[in-house]
Amino acid sequence: MSKPRTVSLFIPCFVDQLLPQVAVDTVKVLRRVGYGVDYPEDQTCCGQPAFNTGYWDEARPCAEHFVRVFKHADAVVCPSGSCATMIRTFYTDLLVQSSLRQDAIALAGRTFELSEFLVKVAGITQVGATFPHSVTYHAACHGLRELHIHDEPLQLLREVDGLTLIEMVRSEECCGFGGTFAIKFSDISAALGNSKAESVAATGAEFVTATDPSCLLHLEGILGKRRASTRTIYLGSILAQDGLAQKSSAQEKS
């Protein structure tokens, strides 16, 4: 595709409702590197919660709604690898018999998670961010294994002024969130989350970051319950720190 000048933001429902700062920071980063940003206000949810729970008949109309809302976008950028995966990987399965299937396939080719958009599409690794803190990186599953995002987030982090990157053990092991899995199998999800929290703690880093605020929402809760000193921060929120306002935008508690 030719380089888009304006991108359409796909803000996952949980980010919209619970983590608006993640979306605000995404807008900041995209604008700072020179993109126009559009937010189609009719968007809701990509349908993943129903899809992953097996309710494909309930997920399908949401997916169709999504395709209708975004089908004229030059490029869609999403601050979550998991929700981008829904469009990229799962819509073709879900909409196999839909009249919008061709639109969905085309849209999948124009939908990106933020870090892969910056590195692979825009060709930018230096976004002019300053974040004088130690950070460890959790490789979120859907970004890693569905979208094959390996090095892009690390390339971006390495260019952040003042940031110290500390590698964690088992960085590619799942944090245990898994959407409705976190509720249906709460004990197992928490056990996985606690293992991840131990890996995070072992780094001694001030922050843990990832391409997926859904993992971080879960992990923030686990770390909070453990009264751990490490906080979570979305990758895009680090990239949005411009050195002017040094207040931490770690996911805010209200």
Partner: protein
């Protein structure tokens, strides 16, 4: 909720909170990981090898009818017998009758998950036959009266101290050492007696080679060869999906299986057996039987979407990498096949109503799919199983109502926005009253293990409406 689901939830909760269990499994699997990664470097192009294995298995499964008949013809021509068992009962009855007719009193078994699946050992024991598991791990779990903890390493959950204790109790009260070599010697002495007493040896098969009419068995302990060559009768019990077209296919399948299973370049013993002892041969059984077990497999074959699940070569790699398996362990599943492949397969073999919960007991992280040596799309099959479960009406009706309501909101952006605002507001009230985690907290399951989610006063869409078009971002 099915009884299997209730048991799984309870056992998984207990095991996943058991940190000693986690450390033991992690320790064992970390050494597996290291061996596996090193093993992979011995193969010039691992991805190409996976691709080749996938193609071989796909060809075999798509022409199962032809290759199985070819295999049968060759085995029968050499004087062997082939029995087609539609289900567990038919398979068990065949072996039981054979044992009775031939006056078999002692059976030695080498490792076979299919015999676990069809519960062959208890069926034989009911007729008064003594059955010995001779794979060391299987021998240990048999002494403990447990199911295998893992399809490849059945006693992985035990440390040597526990094994020494078990041997003292069951085999020889004078054992003092818990040194693995000493313990192995105890087991070996005991099992030698069984090998030479047994009239029947039962094995599984890693592959059935169609053009050679041969059973391929990969083992590490030498017990497999004793089981298949010392007793008068050798019975192979295996699933119909183990077929491969050509002998030369083993050139890639054997090393890939060994690498994925244990990190070895090839297993210590790789054996091909084509029939009973022939005139002039020094050893081998007088009788050779192959029991080809269907037991739900042809139902899976009919399912074009999930047929490739039959490609599985039972290497165990998906269990080893699975974070859920690593936390809940093998026994919590309550199934013959554990981990991702078990969660995909069991609802097909044993019923979707009883076992659909296993398809949900995954975060869908996809680690399993990334290591599968025959490239089965495991985590996407879990998703399809979930869809099949809701379509079969096997999930809770309250859940269906919830998702229908959710769909309505998602189709109407204003209702969605209002709904989100109301829920956040309501939760703020509940938490403001200090009721987080109480019965009045709709998020109490979440909050049992986590601090509450943030509840901002304004959603992003509200912020955007206010001034996002202009003011968000750098000025």
């Amino acid at each position: 909720m099915s009884t299997a689901a209730q048991r799984f939830l309870q056992d998984a909760a207990v095991k996943s909170a058991d940190l000693m269990h986690r450390e033991l499994i992690r320790h064992n699997l970390d050494s597996y990981d290291a061996a596996h990664l090193k093993g992979r470097t011995r193969i010039k192009d691992w991805e190409a090898a996976r691709q080749k294995c996938q193609e071989i298995k796909r060809e075999a499964i798509n022409h199962l009818d032809r290759y199985l008949l070819q295999f049968e013809e060759k085995v029968v021509a050499r004087g062997g017998h082939v029995f087609w068992a539609a289900n567990s009962e038919e398979a068990c009855t065949y072996v039981k009758n054979l044992a009775t007719q031939r006056g078999v009193r002692t059976v030695v078994k080498s490792k076979s998950m299919v015999t676990e699946e069809i519960h062959l050992t208890p069926a034989l024991e009911k007729t008064g036959t003594r059955v010995w598991e001779t794979d060391l791990g299987e021998f240990i779990v048999q002494l403990r009266d447990e199911a295998p903890y893992h399809i490849v390493t059945p006693a992985m959950h035990l440390n040597r101290g526990q094994i020494a204790e078990l041997f003292r109790e069951k085999l020889d009260s004078t054992i003092e050492s818990d040194d693995p070599t000493d313990l192995m010697a105890v087991a070996r002495r005991k099992l030698r007696e069984a090998f030479f007493a047994a009239e029947m040896g039962i094995s599984g098969a890693n592959f059935l080679v169609a053009d050679a009419g041969a059973v391929a068995i990969s083992t590490n302990e030498g017990n497999g060869r004793l089981c298949t060559s010392v007793p008068r009768i050798h019975v192979v019990v295996t699933g119909i999906e183990k077929i491969i077209p050509r002998l030369e296919d083993l050139a890639v399948l054997w090393p890939v299986l060994a690498t994925s299973g244990t990190g070895q370049g090839i297993t210590t013993y790789s054996t091909l057996i084509g029939g009973p002892r022939r005139a002039g041969e020094a050893d081998g059984p007088e009788e050779f039987h192959v029991v080809l077990v269907d037991n739900g497999r042809s139902r899976l074959l009919a399912d074009a979407e999930q047929r490739e699940v039959l490609h599985c070569i039972r290497c165990g790699a998906c269990l080893n990498i699975c974070p859920v398996y690593r936390h809940v362990g093998g026994h919590a599943y309550g199934t013959t096949y554990q981990g991702p492949i078990g969660s995909v397969l069991t609802p097909h073999l044993n019923g979707i109503t009883e076992f659909q919960h296993l398809s949900y007991a995954s975060s869908l992280c996809g680690a399993c799919t990334s290591v599968c040596p025959v490239k089965i799309d495991l985590h996407h099959h879990l998703l399809q199983n979930r869809r099949n479960a809701t379509e079969a009406g096997a999930t809770k009706s309250s859940e269906r109502i919830m998702f229908r309501t959710w769909r309505y909101a998602m189709m109407h952006p204003r209702i969605y926005a209002l709904g989100g605002w109301s829920v956040r507001k309501a939760l703020r009230v509940v938490y403001g009253l200090g009721l987080a985690g109480s019965i009045l907290d709709p998020m109490r399951v979440w909050n049992r293990y986590r601090s509450p989610v943030p509840l901002p006063t304004e959603s992003f869409r509200a912020l955007w409406k206010k001034d996002g078009r202009k003011n968000l971002g750098p000025s």
